[in-house]
Subunit: 137 residues, 2 copies
Amino acid sequence: MFKLDPRIEKDSTFIKDLPLCQVRLQNDSRYPWLVLLPRENGLTEVYELSSDQQAQLMVESSLVSKALAKSTECKKINVANLGNVVSQLHWHVVARFENDLTWPAPIWGVGTSVPWQDQKRAEFIDSFLTNLAELFN
Amino acid sequence: MFKLDPRIEKDSTFIKDLPLCQVRLQNDSRYPWLVLLPRENGLTEVYELSSDQQAQLMVESSLVSKALAKSTECKKINVANLGNVVSQLHWHVVARFENDLTWPAPIWGVGTSVPWQDQKRAEFIDSFLTNLAELFN
């Protein structure tokens, strides 16, 4: 059974399972920030996935990126596997704006998370899932 | 013909062309830091590559990551496409250590680059290319 690191579980909210990855929303309304978690235990580096899984991660990262870009009309998508703090393999997909808090610097490790308001989170997830579904059609 | 952004050209050194990407060494000895540039002009986002190119980027990213990890015996590989400053599509592959300058925070936009000494750069590139070649055998 796939086990989620407790810090990732606490800091993010389940959105959807794709064929390889669980898609979660970071509990930080400062950025539209999604996290993809390949449902394999005990991995840290992208290259520890099988070749097929690596290709699938790229497919899912791009679908999520496109849907996120459409929902947010952002300036740039940032994708990354860092994992210096939480080692469980996870893949960030973040929408960036020229007027966001840390632009053009990266977002990680800056300040304190600001939780989403319930309604805004629900609206964001609804928009994202609608745009994601359209990419599968 | 593939055109390199002049800032990327100034800030990094050519190492090798892989089937999709040019591999360059960032001119910053604080981190073992490689940059992969898909040889396509006018792209900014990973998802603007064709599906085959996206899969190939993942293949090349993992090969470069494995060779870099072997050369450096690092704690973690960080991979990312940010592109908030230089928009030309480029992919970072960075070896991280628990005692490096900014661990566990990301490396981008911190302080000032420290150029490589010629001999150390040559030794690093030699080691990296040897480990990369072994992965192709």
